[in-house]
Amino acid sequence: MKRQIVRLAIAFLLIGGSPAYAIAVDAVTLQDPALEARARTIMQGLRCLVCQNQSIEISDAELAGDLRRIVRERVAAGDTDSQVRAHLVARYGDWVLMRPPFKLSTLVLWAGPPVLLVLGGIALWAGQRRREAPVLQPLTEAEQAKLREITAPD
């Protein structure tokens, strides 16, 4: 019992232990912790254009640092989150957003997976239905005799 508890504890630590996130370090951050936190959240949603699968929050690229400075400036100037994002989208396009917006050009991107899932489900269901249920034939006399022979106690 005790052992199991220890094992469980180890498992929990392995799964639930908080991973250390890489965060780019800037010399200049916002004085107000609330604004800095907001800026950080916005940065998490903005994609670095140099190292494409990182957000600018964690990217070490020089351009990401420049963009972080702009985000902080806009936040300090009183922009809302969406105004800050719009500022960068105007320059770099939707591409700069980690979560692409839902619109006509991204319809396949967003709707594709659920549509495929539904189509797959339908195909599976239709396939199941078409497959005939196996008809059980009663054992013949010879088979019954063999069964008795096999299962008979010595």
């Binding site: 254009l49 351009l63 420049d66 963009l67 989208v89 105007a90 320059r91 770099y92 396009g93 591409w95």
Partner: protein, 176 residues
């Protein structure tokens, strides 16, 4: 019922077609948000001797302009430079440089060594104006029509074949 047996073949063919096109795209090329938009209204002081720098208002005065973002520390810019020299020599398009995060002395030495295709060069020491242009790496090249609208963007070095295939047709289209 026979046609049903072709469904997997059709699906695989579709998938192959999608992948054939999709995997041929270069994910490093980010589509520009500024095509058909007016140029960003930011001026840059000149690289010494390359006055008047980059004056946004000058880009809307009727002349077609090729704006090249470059730096002396950028290797691909060296590879691209002969192509810029050729465009300067063979067309009457005005060429303006945006010198990105560079040391002016080194930038001028670069032009002295490899030739100077630019009518003027703006010095963007902090890279701030380049961000207004949606630049995310050097070199990048923009074509601006006479009304100050960005009509084409090329990311990465211009290769010799890009001149007849991309630059000259774009210049021709912008002239109309």
């Amino acid at each position: 019922m026979r046609w049903r047996s072709f469904i997997p073949l059709i699906l695989v063919s579709l998938l192959a077609a999608v992948l054939f096109v999709g995997l041929g795209l270069d994910p490093k090329i980010v589509p520009s948000a500024l095509i058909d938009k007016p140029v960003p209204q930011f001026d840059l002081p000149p690289l010494p001797g390359k006055e008047p720098g980059l004056i946004a208002a000058d880009l809307a005065k009727g002349q077609i302009t090729l704006l090249n973002v470059w730096a002396s520390w950028c290797g691909p810019c060296r590879i691209e430079h002969p192509q810029l020299m050729e465009i300067a020599k063979t067309t009457d398009v005005r060429m303006i440089g945006l010198n990105y995060k560079d040391d002016p002395a080194k930038a001028l030495a670069f032009l002295k060594q490899l030739g100077d295709p630019f009518a003027s060069v703006g010095a963007d020491r902090t890279g701030r104006v380049a961000i207004e242009w949606g630049v995310y790496g050097v070199p990048e090249t923009f074509l601006i029509d006479g009304k100050g609208r960005i009509v084409m963007k090329h990311v990465g070095p211009l290769r010799p074949e890009d001149i007849p295939e991309k630059i000259l047709p774009a210049i021709k289209a912008a002239a109309q």
